[in-house]
Amino acid sequence: MTAAPMEQDGYNLRLYVAGQTPKSLAALANLKKLCETHLPGRYTIEVIDLMKDPALAQRDQIVAIPTLIRQLPEPLKRIIGDLSNAEKVLVGLDIAPS
C-alpha cells in the first residue's frame, strides 16, 4: 500500500488492524485522507493485519486496535483509535496543520 516514494523527511507509518472491521477500514481511510492532505508524497503506510500475523502484536507491543505507529521519523509515536479525530492524529504524528 505504498502511496509515494520515500524521502529524507518522509513518514514511515504502520497501521495495525485485526481483520476487516469497520474500525480498521475507517482508520485506514482516515489515515490516507490525512496523509494526502498534510504529507503528500512524503509518507508510506504499511498495514499489518494481526489476524494473519498475530506474533507481531507481541513484538510491536500492540494492545489496542487500531494502532498507528510512526516508525520514522524518530521518536516512535503511537496513536490508537480509528483516527476520526484528525486534530489528535496530527498532534500525535507531530505534523503542523498547514
Binding site: V63, I65, P66, T67, L83, A86
Partner: protein
C-alpha cells in the same frame, strides 16, 4: 437399622463445577479442589500481598505437576525481573519457557507514548493472549495486573466493555485464568474488576499486628461450590506458598488406644504403667527450672528409641544447647538427629506472627510426618500474639496433630505460684494429660515435684512425686508424708534418717527385752531346780526317818518277844537266859 445424623441427600448426576487444582498446599483444600476450571478467578490484595507469586505458583504447578501449560501476561514487570523474582521460590521458569510450558508476555503501556484519536478496542490484547495460548496449548492464564490498562488508556467506557468481553472470551477459550487486581478503598479492587469476574474471588491480605505481619487468604466468593469462608494464614518462603486451612479441622479425630511411653519409667508407672495415649496432647507446665525441657527430651528420646520420628520445636533454646544440656541427664539426642529420627526446628517466637508459626509447623509436620511433636515452650508464643490468638492457634495445632495421630507434648512456662493450676492461654482444657512440675522452697532449698493433674481416659496416679534429675535421667520418688506434712529433698532425707534411727532404737530395745526375758526364764528355771532338789533331799530324809522308825519298832517288837521268852525260861531255868538277853 443404620441411622445417619445427616439428612440423606440424593445426588443425581448434577452438573458439578470442574476444578483446576492450584497445587498450592492448603488452597485446594479451602476451595475443595482448586479454582473453577475454564473460568477466570480474581485474585486481589494490597501491594506486597504476594499476588504475583501466587499467580506464578499456579502456573508453575500447572506446568510441572498437572501438565497444563500456562501463559503469564505481565503488565507490571519485565519478564526478566519476573523470572528472577520467582527464582527465589526455586521456580525455574526459564527452563519451562524453553520447554514450551510457560509463556511470559510483557505488555507495556505508557500513557505518554499513546495518543488516542477516535474509537478503538483491545483486539490487540486479545490477539496477543490468544496467540500465546495457542502457541503452547495453554490451559492456564494469568493476567497481572490488568488494572494497569486503566492507567495507560483514557477511555474508561471502552475499557470496561472490553474487560467484560475479555473475561467472556477467556471463558470461551476454556482456560482457567487468574486476574490479579490491586485492592481499592472500600472495594476489592481499585477499578471494580469484581463486577466482571464473578465466579471466584480470592482476597490476599498482609496485616501487621504488634509489628508482626501475617499473610492471610480468604475466598470471598466461589460461585456454585462450597468453600472455606475463613481467613487462612499463608506463608511464602523458599518452598513456595502454603495456605493453612487450619480452622477447617473438626473434632472428629480418631481416638487411639495405643500407648506411648513417656520415656520416664516411673512416670509410665503413674500412667497405668504404659504412658500416654498415642495421638493425645500433653501439657507439661511449671516454673522456670522445674524440668519441663528435660521431661520433653525424655519423651522425644523414647520416641526415637522406638525408631519413630519426632520434631522438637524449640522456641527458646538452640538445638545445640538442648543437645548439650540433655547430655547432663544422660540423654544423647545427637544420635537421633544424625539418624534422621529427630528434627529440631528452632525459631524465635517473635520472628514472625503466630499464624506463620502455625503454618510453618503444619508444613514441617506434613513433610516430616513424625509420630510425636514437642513444642518447648508453647508459652513463648505469647510474645507473638495475644492470649486469645495463642489459644486458638494451640487449639488448631492440637486438632491438626490429633487428626494425624501425632502425640504432642507442649510445655508451658508458668509464672508465679505453681499451685495456680491455670495457663495464660487457657490451653489446659485442650490437653489430655497435664503434668504439673513444682519447684517448692522448703527449709532453704528448692525441690522439684511432679503431679499428674489429669490424664483423660486412664486410671492415673494421684500422688505427688519428688522429681529427681541425675546423670542417669529422671527418677520419681515417693515423697515423704509424715506428721509434719509432705517432705522432699534434704528434709525428706533428714526425716528418713531420723526414722531409721528411731527404728534402730526400737529394735535394740526389743532385743534387750528379749534377752532379759531369756535370762529371767533361765534364772527361774534354776530356782525351780534348786527348790526341787531341796524338796527331794527333804523327802529322802523323811524316808530314812520312816525306815529307822519302823526298824526300831521291829526291834522293839522282837525285844518284847525275846523278853517275853526269857521271862518264860527264867521261870523255867533261871540265870543262863538272862546272859543271853544282855549279850544281845
Amino acid at each position: 437399622m443404620k441411622t445417619s445424623v445427616r439428612p440423606r441427600i440424593v445426588t443425581r448426576d448434577l452438573p458439578v463445577i470442574a476444578k483446576s487444582p492450584t497445587g498450592i498446599d492448603g488452597l485446594d483444600e479451602v476451595t475443595f479442589g482448586g479454582l473453577p476450571q475454564g473460568r477466570p478467578t480474581l485474585l486481589c490484595g494490597a501491594a506486597g500481598c504476594g499476588k504475583t507469586l501466587f499467580a506464578m505458583t499456579f502456573l508453575y504447578n500447572g506446568a510441572v505437576a498437572f501438565n497444563e501449560p500456562g501463559v503469564f501476561i505481565a503488565f507490571e514487570e519485565q519478564p526478566e525481573d519476573l523470572i528472577k523474582n520467582v527464582g527465589s521460590l526455586s521456580y525455574d521458569i526459564e527452563r519451562l519457557i524453553e520447554q514450551n510450558k510457560i509463556v511470559v508476555d510483557h505488555i507495556h503501556l505508557d500513557r505518554n507514548e499513546i495518543e488516542e484519536a477516535g474509537d478503538y478496542d483491545l483486539d490487540g490484547l486479545f490477539i496477543r493472549i490468544g496467540f500465546a495460548i495457542d502457541s503452547i496449548g495453554a490451559k492456564r492464564v494469568v493476567i497481572d495486573t490488568i488494572e494497569t490498562l486503566f492507567g495507560g488508556l483514557d477511555n474508561q467506557a471502552v475499557l470496561r466493555s472490553e474487560l467484560r468481553r475479555l473475561f467472556e472470551w477467556l471463558k470461551s477459550k476454556g482456560v482457567t485464568a487468574i486476574i490479579t487486581g490491586e485492592r481499592g478503598d472500600g472495594t476489592l479492587t481499585r477499578y471494580g474488576l469484581e463486577e466482571y469476574v464473578a465466579d471466584c474471588v480470592i482476597l490476599l491480605d498482609n496485616r501487621v499486628h504488634d509489628q508482626l505481619s501475617t499473610r492471610r487468604l480468604r475466598v470471598v466468593k466461589y460461585r456454585g461450590t462450597a468453600h472455606g469462608t475463613n481467613e487462612y494464614p499463608f506463608i511464602i518462603d523458599q518452598e513456595g506458598i502454603t495456605v493453612m486451612p487450619i480452622t477447617s479441622s473438626g473434632l472428629a479425630h480418631d481416638a487411639w488406644t495405643e500407648r506411648v511411653s513417656t520415656g520416664i519409667a516411673d512416670l509410665d508407672d503413674m500412667l497405668e504403667g504404659q504412658g500416654y495415649y498415642k495421638g493425645s496432647s500433653i501439657l507439661v507446665s511449671g516454673m522456670a527450672g522445674s524440668g519441663k525441657s528435660t521431661v520433653s527430651a525424655h519423651f522425644a528420646n523414647s520416641i526415637c528409641q522406638a525408631g519413630q520420628c519426632c520434631i522438637y520445636f524449640a522456641l527458646e533454646e538452640s538445638p545445640q544447647q538442648i543437645v548439650r544440656n540433655m547430655r547432663s541427664v544422660g540423654l544423647d539426642l545427637q544420635q537421633w538427629v544424625d539418624r534422621g529420627l529427630l528434627r529440631f526446628s528452632a525459631r524465635r517466637p517473635n520472628l514472625y506472627g503466630l499464624e506463620t508459626h502455625l503454618a510453618s509447623m503444619h508444613r514441617e509436620v506434613k513433610e516430616f510426618d513424625p509420630a510425636a511433636v514437642v513444642v518447648d515452650p508453647i508459652s513463648a508464643l505469647m510474645g507473638a500474639g495475644v492470649a486469645g490468638d495463642v489459644h486458638s492457634m494451640t487449639l488448631r495445632l492440637i486438632d491438626f496433630l490429633k487428626s494425624r495421630g501425632v502425640t504432642a507434648l507442649f510445655t508451658n512456662l508458668g509464672a508465679g505460684s505453681a499451685e495456680t493450676a491455670t495457663t495464660e492461654m487457657q490451653i489446659s482444657s485442650l490437653t489430655d494429660t497435664w503434668l504439673l512440675l513444682y519447684n517448692r522452697e522448703t527449709n532453704g532449698e528448692h525441690n522439684r515435684q511432679l503431679y499428674l493433674l489429669k490424664s483423660r481416659g486412664m486410671a492415673h496416679s494421684n500422688q505427688v512425686r519428688e522429681f529427681l534429675m541425675s546423670a542417669g535421667g529422671i527418677s520419681l520418688r515417693e515423697v515423704y508424708v509424715g506428721p509434719d506434712g509432705v517432705l522432699t529433698g534434704s528434709a525428706r532425707l533428714a526425716q528418713e534418717a531420723k526414722d531409721r534411727a528411731d527404728r534402730l532404737l526400737r529394735t535394740q530395745e526389743v532385743e534387750r527385752r528379749t534377752r532379759e526375758i531369756v535370762r529371767r526364764r533361765r534364772e527361774i528355771a534354776a530356782q525351780i531346780e534348786t527348790l526341787q532338789a531341796q524338796l527331794a533331799s527333804e523327802e529322802g530324809e523323811m524316808e530314812l526317818l520312816n525306815l529307822e522308825g519302823s526298824a526300831r519298832e521291829d526291834q522293839r517288837a522282837a525285844d518284847r518277844i525275846a523278853l517275853a521268852q526269857s521271862r518264860a525260861s527264867r521261870r523255867a531255868a533261871s540265870s543262863s537266859s538272862k546272859l543271853m538277853t544282855s549279850g544281845k
